[in-house]
């Protein structure tokens, strides 16, 4: 009986609904004849019917025929030489200003009559809300090269570097195409399908050695790698230590050369000596292991380069080896402050692929968890911000105290304090225990408002905090959109963009709340905006707790090796730190073919260098704290 259950497949989803409006396709087609695939435009209204839940969805959808010969894959295929014109046309004429996500998929073998290629994907959004326009560009696997769009879309800066790092696609014209997560001198491109990881045992889980003949125990690392699984020539292997040091030297040389050459002022009246200071990887202000190489002139920052990857564990490769369900506990480890929303984003993206509905009660539970998570995150962000300003631990401990109470609630419902593994595609793992709502209501009604107000007074009225944060690290709305930042960092610049309103997922369209914004986009506004958002979250929580119905919490019976019909989806939610998206590609198997995380924290770091330039070195710490990042999510 059990075996039968295992072998059952779940390929039952109906045709997908794509949000790309027909008008966009027609205008693109008119402007770039012959540049786009397919040659024949989809007939108007041919697409699937719009869902009833999406009042913000586009009324007409484009059918799945867009990407040639690729059923269920969405978007427009653009020739590489037209990429930049098409993107700027979309941005300038059709208002698709927000380049949210950019990544690549490797196809080492020919699929659907296409030769082996690397497929680079761009997802663009409108700031007025609605669905996305996905663009695909193909490049050959050998000598992969594409034009860089960083000059027009600064949001692509880190993402192009990541694609270069992970897939080996060279972006011509990128100002600083170094590896993002791996080190210079690393051999191979880890997310290519033919690159095998250390501890490599099999392509996909579950491994055959575990069952039914799992008597032959071994530790994975006993079998490893520097022998069979890591691609290194014997020369490199034999003297791996000294050359490695040289490689690090090479990385530093590339980094410092760029830093020292950028924005020199030859006409400076006073001759001063500049110095390069490395803050991190171990620095108390960096929330983990994050390094900022800073070029200083006295106390003034002339240039700043962030260096990532110290926490890199190739999460995306692990994700492609796992089965669909096995990834859920791994997502907890991305933004470990907000495991609940990481779970949720992944499940929302999977549900998009599966076409599953979520029962009422589960939707409410999801919203309660997300909003509690948001309250905790913003309290902590404010608390640790005070820590970074030099208040030592007082502020952060006040925040942590409230967080513990919320974690108690999370623990009672999911069993974990930080690693929840609670959301499931089609619902949640378990129902709320008896008395939970009353406890949560007591916390939300009686304690949190008082404590939030206290914290607000504690920080926002304080003259020292104000002096350290007002006017520091300011960004305009246009800059913020161009840099692709999201969440509180974007809204503090005056852009009222919130995925909960712009493209509501779940049942957010039923709740009464405001998308709060601030005007100046400086450190103080980012801090104050988080408090504004806590009040909105508490307001949502009150509504959700009063309205939560009884009923089912899971719409489908999950099987351990569930399959997902072929297709791709970019599902996103408004996580506490900003837009968190999962780009998933399924080839119909039990494992994701591609599993990409649009990491909020990484994208929010894009403007860091610009924000810090010209300021004082002490302000760098304040700016970093106001961006609110988790390294688990930046490095993945």
């Amino acid at each position: 009986m059990a075996e039968k259950m295992v072998d059952r497949t779940d390929v039952s989803a109906a045709d997908r609904i794509y949000d790309m409006p027909v008008e966009v396709w027609e205008q693109l087609q008119a402007r770039f004849p012959g540049a786009l695939h397919p040659a024949e435009p989809p007939a108007r209204g041919e697409g699937a019917e719009p869902t009833d839940s999406g009042s913000h969805r586009m009324t007409r959808s484009v059918s799945r025929s867009l990407l040639m010969h690729r059923p269920r894959y969405e978007g427009v295929l653009v020739h590489a030489r037209h990429l930049l014109p098409v993107l700027t046309f979309l941005r300038d004429e059709l208002d698709y200003t927000y380049l949210s996500n950019m990544t690549a998929v490797d196809y080492p073998e020919s699929v659907e009559q296409l030769p082996p290629h690397i497929d680079v994907v761009y997802h663009l959004f409108k700031m007025s809300g609605g669905g996305y326009v996905p663009l695909h560009v193909h490049t050959a696997r050998e000598g992969a090269v594409l034009p860089s769009i960083t000059s027009e879309f600064p949001a692509a800066n880190f993402q192009e570097r990541e694609v270069w790092d992970m897939f080996g696609v060279r972006f011509e014209g990128h100002p600083d195409l170094r590896r993002l997560l791996m080190w210079e001198g690393f051999a191979g491109f880890p997310l290519r399908k033919d690159w095998k990881e250390a501890y490599y045992e099999e392509e996909h889980k579950p491994y055959r050695s575990r069952f039914p003949n799992g008597g032959n125990l071994f530790y994975a690392e006993a079998r490893t790698p520097c022998h069979a699984n890591v691609r290194m020539t014997s020369q490199e292997l034999s003297d791996s230590c000294p050359p490695l040091l040289e490689d690090f030297g090479e990385a530093d040389r590339l980094l410092y050369e760029r830093m020292l050459s950028a924005d020199r002022d030859p006409d400076k009246p006073l001759k001063t000596e500049e110095m390069v200071l490395n803050m991190g990887p171990h620095h108390p202000s960096t929330h983990g292991v994050f390094r900022m190489a800073v070029r200083l002139d006295g106390e003034t920052v002339r240039h700043l380069e962030p260096v990532f990857g110290y926490l890199h564990r190739n999460h995306e490769k692990i994700g492609e080896r796992n089965t669909w369900l096995q990834n859920i506990p791994y997502t907890d480890r991305l933004d470990y402050i907000n495991g609940m929303t990481c779970n949720l984003a992944y499940c929302v993206s999977m549900e998009k692929l599966l076409g599953w509905e979520v029962p009422e009660r589960a939707e409410y539970i999801r919203i309660i968890m997300s909003e509690l998570s948001r309250v905790v995150n913003h309290m902590l962000a404010a608390g640790f911000f005070s820590n970074e300003l030099g208040m030592y631990f007082t502020g952060s401990l006040y925040a942590l105290e409230e967080r513990e109470l919320v974690l108690d609630l999370f623990e009672a419902v999911s069993g974990g304090r930080m690693m929840f593994n609670y959301m499931r595609p089609g619902g949640v793992a378990s129902d709320l225990p008896p008395g939970w709502i009353e406890r949560a209501r007591q916390l939300v009604r009686e304690r949190l408002p008082k404590k939030v107000r206290q914290m607000q007074t504690f920080l926002l009225d304080n003259e020292i905090v104000r002096a350290r944060s007002i006017g520091i690290g300011a960004m305009t709305a246009e800059e913020a959109v161009a840099y692709g930042v999201s969440g509180p960092v974007l809204r503090a610049c005056g852009v009222p963009y919130d995925v909960r309103r712009a493209e509501p997922y779940g049942i957010y369209d039923r709740f009464d709340f405001d998308v709060v914004t601030r005007e100046h986009g400086d450190v103080f506004d980012r801090l104050a905006l988080r408090f504004d958002e806590i009040w909105e979250s508490l307001h949502i929580l009150e509504q959700a707790m009063d309205a939560i119905p009884d009923g089912e919490i899971q719409s489908h019976r999950l099987s351990p090796r569930m399959r997902i019909p072929p297709g791709e989806s970019y599902g996103r939610i408004e996580a506490p730190k900003g837009e968190l998206g999962f780009y998933l590609v399924s080839d119909g198997g039990a494992n994701p073919y591609r599993y990409h995380i649009r990491s909020t924290s990484l994208l929010n770091l894009t403007p860091l260098s610009t924000l810090a330039r010209g300021g004082k070195i002490a302000d760098v710490v304040a700016i970093l704290g106001s961006i609110d990042l988790t390294m688990g999510e930046v490095d993945r």
């Binding site: 009986m1 059990a2 075996e3 259950m5 295992v6 889980k205 579950p206 491994y207 050695s209 575990r210 069952f211 039914p212 003949n213 799992g214 008597g215 125990l217 530790y219 796992n322 089965t323 369900l325 096995q326 990834n327 859920i328 506990p329 791994y330 007082t394 006040y398 105290e401 109470l405 108690d408 623990e411 009672a412 419902v413 999911s414 069993g415 974990g416 690693m419 593994n421 793992a429 378990s430 225990p433 008896p434 406890r439 007591q442 916390l443 009686e446 304690r447 206290q454 007074t457 504690f458 920080l459 009225d461 304080n462 003259e463 020292i464 905090v465 104000r466 999950l558 351990p560 090796r561």
Partner: protein, 184 residues
């Protein structure tokens, strides 16, 4: 007045300090609830709250999970596990190793695990094995004091199996529900 904000900030710190003692006095006067309960069930007071671990311990919620264990059935006094392999398939870290027993003569598989090993240094306590087990044969434990001086590595879950009564003790609500479903 410039500086009033700083005074307010300091007043809040002072408030926390004073309330710590007020909370304690309330507790001594018997108006405070049980301290361990206060840590997990109700709302703690306004001041700084400390539990003197390990003398005082918070009560754990029923769903708290740390490391799985196999269940010995109360009626048959055998492992409930049928070596179906669902847990080994769903395990995200692939830390469960099962060898299915075989009939000595025919070599046909029996519904019993010959060996059931868990690499506890790899287990991330996600609870999937307990959630997906069709026979309620594996459950999550609540023992959180598992630190050792050496790497524990593989643990034979078959030998470390715990009786059904233990499961019923730590998961009263879930156990009652399972029993109800079994009766129907």
């Amino acid at each position: 007045m410039y500086g009033s904000g700083i005074i307010k900030t300091l007043a809040i710190t002072m408030y926390h300090f004073v309330m710590t003692y007020v909370d304690d006095v309330r507790h001594w006067l018997g108006r405070g609830e049980d301290k361990t309960l206060r840590a997990t069930e109700g709302l703690p007071g306004e001041g700084i709250f400390t539990l003197q671990y390990p003398q005082e311990r918070p009560s754990l919620p029923e769903r708290y999970r740390n490391l799985p264990f196999l269940v010995i059935d109360a009626e048959t006094e055998q492992l409930r596990c049928t070596a179906c392999g669902v847990c080994a398939q769903i395990c995200p870290t692939q830390c469960i190793w099962i060898e299915r027993a075989k009939e000595p003569e025919s070599g046909r598989p029996r519904r019993y695990p010959m060996a059931y090993n868990i690499d506890v240094s790899l287990c991330m306590s996600c609870g999937f094995c307990a959630e997906f087990c069709p026979f309620d044969a594996i459950k999550m434990d609540q023992d959180y004091e598992v630190a050792t001086y050496s790497r524990p590595g593989f643990v034979s879950a078959r030998e470390m199996a715990k009786p059904e009564s233990y499961h019923a003790g730590i998961h009263p609500r879930a156990y009652a529900q399972e029993e109800n479903e079994g009766d129907e």
